[in-house]
């Protein structure tokens, strides 16, 4: 079984092959063909990943924790230090492989239905395959540099896919925002790599961790710097305070992208990075505490924003930021198994929620088309119809029963209700937090309450009550290619949490070699009570009630300023605009107008360089070129012309003249010979 490790590189190669096929032949292929190639490539990666994981399970726990290294080739070497590209196969990367390839494959299938009829269908699947390849490179790398290749690759795909419908300016803006926010974080990762390379002399995981462990005291400062810089990268990629602002806007991309990249996989890269670098983080408890608090604060902060949003995908986006806060907090405080377990369960239930939301949007859009097709009394308001606004929904339960059921399963998973996935992982994080970091524990507990509340609000607003628009009343269930992946995901959301349930502990044993701690009934009781209480409160506030004219669009409007602040997302974007973007633009304008425009362009280039050049050109052109060079060569020409005119006279055209010349020549020769003979 261990031979499978040597073909693990196929996991990365399959998506690349898929995208190359679609790139080369996509124009001549049908939508079904394109989608099949892309989904098959993802599925093949999943299959190899499964083999790898099975082989890993077959190893001894000790061997599994160390993992297998599969060297590929040496990327470069400087002096004595070399960067060897290779694959790291251990429990952590195995877990990530399963999550990425399995959820990725399902979303590929779903996207075949969702992207149906899109003019850039081919391009979409090429991007998705490219993303898979980059993400798998990130996960499988055995050194920071190769990991960074994947890290940048997923960032690029994120940019391309957020701005996929670039005809709308807002989508392009969102893509740029994601790129810029991520660049700030990526800069941190780059600096961290430089610091490691200078301080430790290697980028290989094994070498770096060993060096830090051995040089414990001496490298403490370096470890602090490296971990903080890595964490800067994490705040960008995994959308933590202060760089989270790009993720809600990233919902501008197609829904499968939101599900795959901005919920299940790419945004968890930061969590993976911390978990992977755990041996370094472990050495600096202060940084660990800092990361845990930032994560927990993000979880709470984003959770509060989520409960006042009206866009169905924005709610899920802030929910993702919040859940990422849970994970970062967990891995930050050293509870790697809990954090990675939550990463896995979250990938399932958040992918399910996003794809479910996509199905609802798809259905409502169809309903909207249905109405505008059959009624000729189109009112102006219909032209601005937003199929993502939950205020236009309601009553979808009756129209899209399957979507509704799986969506509610996803919601229960997110809210953390027994026995759905989220309960077990969230409970584990809370349990670890209660032991490791009390402040984070309190923050996370409150955040868990908000989580249950906002998802209850969403489910009630979307699926129950009276339809609040004609389109919602006419919504249609989505095609089977979209529904089947939802059902598969729903099945896993229901069951996957059990693999790490107390007493079973398969996941902790797999990842850390030992079963996790005792099941603490009081923690579970508190978190369940909070979840159920929040759900109850949500039902109380948002229960279906008869429509009253002039009623506010949200019952929580009664909270006044609090609600409007949350609805405006604490105006963080506006604050960033004021603090960073405007000064930046002002500086840019100053540099462009004054420094570049007036100083360099107007003065230096136009005055100094251009005038000097002109003078020099005049000088060489007139006195030197015209005066000396031209006269010399003109003189040669004139002399030759004069010589030609003189020689022309000999060509009289009279035969006798030529004959005379010949005769004179003969006479001259005869005289010469005769004189020689006479002279002898």
């Amino acid at each position: 079984m261990e031979q499978v490790f040597s073909i693990a590189w196929l996991i990365i190669v399959f998506p690349i092959a898929g995208l190359l096929i679609n790139l080369a032949f996509g124009r001549r292929m049908t939508e079904r063909g394109l989608g099949t190639v892309a989904a098959t490539a993802a599925g093949a990666s999943f299959f190899v990943s499964l083999l790898v994981v099975i082989a890993l399970i077959g190893l001894e726990p000790e061997a599994r924790l160390i993992g297998k290294e599969v060297p590929l080739w040496q990327f470069f070497s400087i002096g004595n230090t070399a960067v060897e590209f290779g694959l790291k196969l251990d429990a952590l990367s195995g877990t990530m492989l399963m999550v990425v390839t399995f959820v990725g494959t399902l979303i590929h299938i779903y996207a075949i239905g969702y992207m149906h009829g899109d003019p850039r269908f081919q391009r979409f699947f090429i991007y998705l395959n490219l993303f898979m390849a980059a993400m798998l490179t990130l996960v499988l790398a055995n050194n920071y540099l190769m990991m960074f290749f994947g890290w940048e690759g997923v960032g690029l795909c994120s940019f391309l896919l957020i701005g996929f419908w670039f005809e709308k300016d807002a989508n392009g803006d969102a893509a740029r925002k994601a790129m810029v926010a991520n660049r700030i974080g990526d800069y941190g990762v780059m600096l961290a790599m430089l610091a490691m390379f200078v301080g430790v002399g290697s980028l290989q995981y094994g070498d770096v961790f060993r060096a830090f462990e051995e040089g414990h005291g001496a490298l403490a400062g370096l470890a602090t710097g490296v971990t903080l810089l890595l964490f800067l990268g994490v705040t960008g990629k995994s959308a933590q305070i202060p760089l989270y602002v790009w993720l809600p806007d990233a919902m501008a991309g197609p829904t499968p992208v939101s599900a795959l990249i901005h919920a299940a996989t790419m945004v968890t890269a930061g969590v993976y990075l911390i978990a992977r670098s755990e041996p370094i983080f472990h050495l600096v408890p202060d940084v660990q505490g800092f990361v845990a608090i930032v994560g927990a604060a993000t979880a709470l902060f984003a959770g509060t924003i989520a409960l006042a949003q009206f866009d169905i995908k924005k709610v899920l986006a802030y929910s993702t930021v919040s859940q990422l806060g849970f994970m970062v907090s967990a891995v930050g405080m050293g509870a790697t198994a809990a954090g990675i377990f939550h990463l896995g369960t979250h990938a399932f239930f958040k992918a399910l929620l996003f794809l479910g939301a996509g199905s609802v949007i798809h259905g409502v859009e169809h309903g909207h088309h249905h109405i505008s097709h059959y009624s000729h009394t189109s009112t102006p308001s219909e032209e601005h119809f937003d199929p993502q606004d939950m205020r236009n929904m309601g009553g979808v339960w009756n129209r899209m029963r399957t979507t509704a059921i799986v969506y509610i399963i996803g919601a229960l998973g997110l809210a953390g209700v027994v026995p759905f996935a989220g309960f077990w992982s969230k409970d584990e994080i809370l349990l670890e937090a209660s032991k490791l970091n009390q402040v984070a524990y309190i923050l996370l507990l409150i955040a868990a309450g908000f989580t249950a509340f906002y998802i209850t609000r969403q489910v009630l607003m979307v699926f129950f009550g009276q339809p609040k628009s004609e389109a919602a009343g006419q919504a249609q269930e989505s095609p089977r290619v979209m529904i089947v992946p939802l059902i598969i995901l729903a099945f896993f959301v229901t069951t996957i949490g059990l693999i790490n349930a107390p007493g079973i502990s398969l996941f902790s044993t797999w990842l850390e070699g030992e079963a996790h701690g005792e099941f603490d009934l009081s923690i579970a009781a508190i978190s369940t009570a909070i979840a159920l209480g929040a759900i109850g409160l949500g039902i109380l506030v948002y229960r279906p009630r008869p429509k009253v004219e002039g009623a506010p669009d949200d019952p929580l409007r009664r909270l006044g300023l609090i609600f409007s602040t949350l609805n405006a997302k604490y105006k963080i974007d506006e604050i960033y605009d004021l603090l960073f973007i405007r000064p930046f633009k002002a500086l840019a304008r100053f540099l462009a107008d004054v420094i570049d425009g007036r100083f360099w362009h107007d003065w230096f280039h136009d005055t100094v360089i251009a005038r000097t050049f002109k003078w020099l050109a005049n000088f060489t052109a007139f006195p030197i070129d015209k005066g000396i060079v031209d006269r010399f060569f003109d003189g040669i020409g004139r002399a030759i012309a004069w010589g030609g005119r003189q020689l022309r006279r000999t060509q009289t055209g009279y035969v006798r003249n030529y004959a005379l010349v010949v005769l004179m020549g003969v006479v001259a020769i005869v005289v010469w010979f005769a004189s020689r003979m006479l002279g002898q």
Partner: protein
């Protein structure tokens, strides 16, 4: 004729040959009629022939005699080509005056 007799005649023959050649050359240089030019050329050739024969007899060698035949053959060929050219030129220029044939003048 005896050898003594020829040795008296010999300088006169060479003188005649030089005279004929000079006449021919002057004819070529001063006359304008292409036909006369031709005849002058023939005169020069025959002057050369006479010199050949005279020298051959004086030196008691046959080479000069044989050469004369070659010269006569070449002269015949030259006349054939030359007369053809003159006829053709006459057809286009309506003239045998060589001064009219000066298309190559520089």
């Amino acid at each position: 004729m005896s050898a003594e007799g020829f040795s008296v005649l010999y300088p006169y023959l060479i003188g005649l040959s030089a005279l004929l050649f000079t006449l021919g050359a002057i004819g070529v240089l001063v006359r304008r009629n292409a036909l006369i030019l031709f005849m002058s050329v023939e005169l020069m050739l025959n002057a050369a022939n006479l010199a050949f024969v005279a020298f051959a007899r004086a030196l008691n060698q046959l080479d000069g005699q044989v050469f004369v035949f070659f010269v006569m053959v070449v002269a015949a060929a030259e006349v054939a080509v030359g007369l053809a050219l003159i006829v053709t030129i006459f057809k286009t220029k309506k003239s045998t005056n060589v001064d009219d044939i000066s298309a190559l003048k520089g």
